[in-house]
Point group: C2
Chain length 340, copies 2
């Protein structure tokens, strides 16, 4: 039985915390702020497409703060909170727990999300994951519904660092994490190049999420047949900028194929466009849900990190710059309102 | 006494209709839909900074439709309605009046706004104007308040056409129009190259108006000191694209100086940015006012016409394309809602 601490039990954090315990091989200490009462009192209903329905699930322990959880060492500390470096960095959030493990797992969107943590713990292993999953809180957060396929693509960040740990220890932790996910009934894969995988995932977030957010519309409105002639070239142009930045960082065609962009677009067209679908889903990206709920958005990991890499490598990203500037205006308003 | 028909008596249309009659040299037949009752019953209060306060002004005649006004020939027909070619073209709106003058005056925003009319009346003179004026409807449209300086920059569209009228007739009409405006107390200037003047004016609309509209924020939020580092480069980039398109159409530095862009930015900074101004104006561009009122926006004359020219001349406009695609999504929703 391994000890895991999960920080942030939104829909995705709660789903994977459940999966870990469901494996019978891990016990989970949960750190959660907004849904502490639900988790500690009645528990949460897990409604998972493949794994099944588990009413009133409670993790091994539930705490409101990281300090309370810092009473032991963990085999893994999993960060499933939103990455908001312009509000609070990951090391700041983890502060009391920062030395309570040698292996961190980041289940978060975006690019370069591990950098702050790498600086704060140069000796630790950092695994990060792209969650290809639709999980939604229901009933005021009393339930989490997971629909369709689920897959966590996980990999070890092997960035060179003077005090870099032996990769062997990291790879072993990654394998254990993967085995437990599979044992718990979830989809899981280990990827060789997690950076490339993250760039692939960000193709969706940096285009569909950002445009829906700026315009405050569901994906279906972005892909309405009446506007496709203008929207698709813009999305393709943005994705092409993303791939050019990735190439400048050494991520090659084999790891992030040019075609990945069109694959994302076509899968969205199938799900959301009235050109292909009589009743397209009215799904809203979580970035827009955050905006509508007056919560800061993950614009730094999803867009900011890309345009900063672009600037460092002299890559022009006019479309991404434009959308980033727009999001920045909205984000500053969210942060201001939060502070007053 | 000349006969003038003014179609569209929003704040700017009403202000100039008043100025024309105030000169004592013109009588105005007004065609107005939404404020017909106000104008025909109580009249409208004109509150003009320089000219003064004129309560309950009524034009010579007021009609609800263009057909009713088509009972005579006019020396000038002035179009002061919004240019919405994606909803209704100017010739469609003017249809019953299309042959009731030889001289049209367009007081409208954007680029290429005269093209439809030129096709419908290749033999007519077309004057167009850039209105550098802040005029606002007050009190539910019962008053129009004009503040600060006002200037109408007017010029003759001299595009070659097989049946082009003698330029002399056009220049004479332009001079008369200018003289009457001055006699009525307004600011007026005749410009040699009205196309270049329109490109200069569009620098403001295509950047500040569009970005405020997409984000649904006043200009002040766009120029908040907390976001300037991202917003200003985007605005400069967009303006640079506009100027490159204008150059490809033969509009040279002398007519549209590179510096014009920075001049627009600096004047906006002075008015709207909290970096320069303790209580910046919370002014919202009319495009945003239209969006908030669920009315179609002038995206075609202000953005669409530019990117179409760019495409014809092989000029890359990635930022403008992005913002146009965004506006197009919003515009289609406005048009759909209007049709249902």
């Amino acid at each position: 039985m391994i000890d895991v601490c999960v920080v942030g039990l939104g829909a995705i954090g709660a789903f994977y915390a459940f999966v870990l315990e469901h494996s019978g091989r891990a016990r989970v200490t949960a750190v959660c702020r907004s849904n502490y009462n639900i988790l500690s009192e009645d528990g949460i209903d897990i409604l998972a497409e493949k794994i099944g329905r588990y009413p009133s699930w409670k993790p091994y322990r539930v705490f409101r703060t990281a300090s309370e959880a810092a009473d032991r060492q963990y085999d893994l500390i999993i960060c499933a909170f939103k990455a908001l470096p312009d509000v609070t960095t990951t090391p700041e959030i983890l502060q009391p727990l920062l030395h309570n493990t040698d292996t961190f797992v980041l289940i978060q969107n975006g690019i370069d999300i591990h950098r702050d943590l790498r600086k704060a713990r140069p000796d630790a292993d950092i695994i990060s994951c792209c969650a290809w999953i639709d999980a939604t809180p229901l009933n005021g957060g009393k339930a989490v519904e997971q629909t369709g396929p689920d897959k966590l693509s996980s990999g070890l960040h092997t960035d060179a660092s003077p005090s870099k740990p032996s990769e062997e220890r990291g790879r072993k932790a990654l394998q254990t994490f993967h085995d437990i996910l599979i044992a718990g009934g979830a989809g899981s894969e280990i990827v060789d190049n997690i950076d490339a995988a993250r760039w692939r995932k960000v193709l969706w977030n940096v285009t569909f999420s950002t445009l829906c957010t700026v315009l405050r519309v569901p994906v279906a409105d972005l892909l309405s047949k009446r506007v496709l002639a203008n929207v698709l070239p813009t999305i393709r142009g943005m994705m092409s900028e993303v791939i050019t930045v990735a190439r400048s960082l050494g991520i090659e065609e084999a790891q992030l194929p040019e075609q990945a962009a069109e694959a994302v677009i076509q899968s969205c067209m199938n799900l959301y466009s009235d050109e292909r679908n009589e009743n397209p889903s009215r799904f809203k990206p979580s970035m827009l849900v955050d905006l509508e709920a007056d919560r800061p958005m993950e614009i730094e990991p999803i867009v900011g990190a890309i345009i900063r890499s672009a600037a460092e490598h002299g890559v022009a990203t006019p479309r991404l710059d434009t959308v980033y500037a727009q999001l920045k205006v909205l984000q500053e308003q969210l942060i201001q309102r939060r502070n007053t």
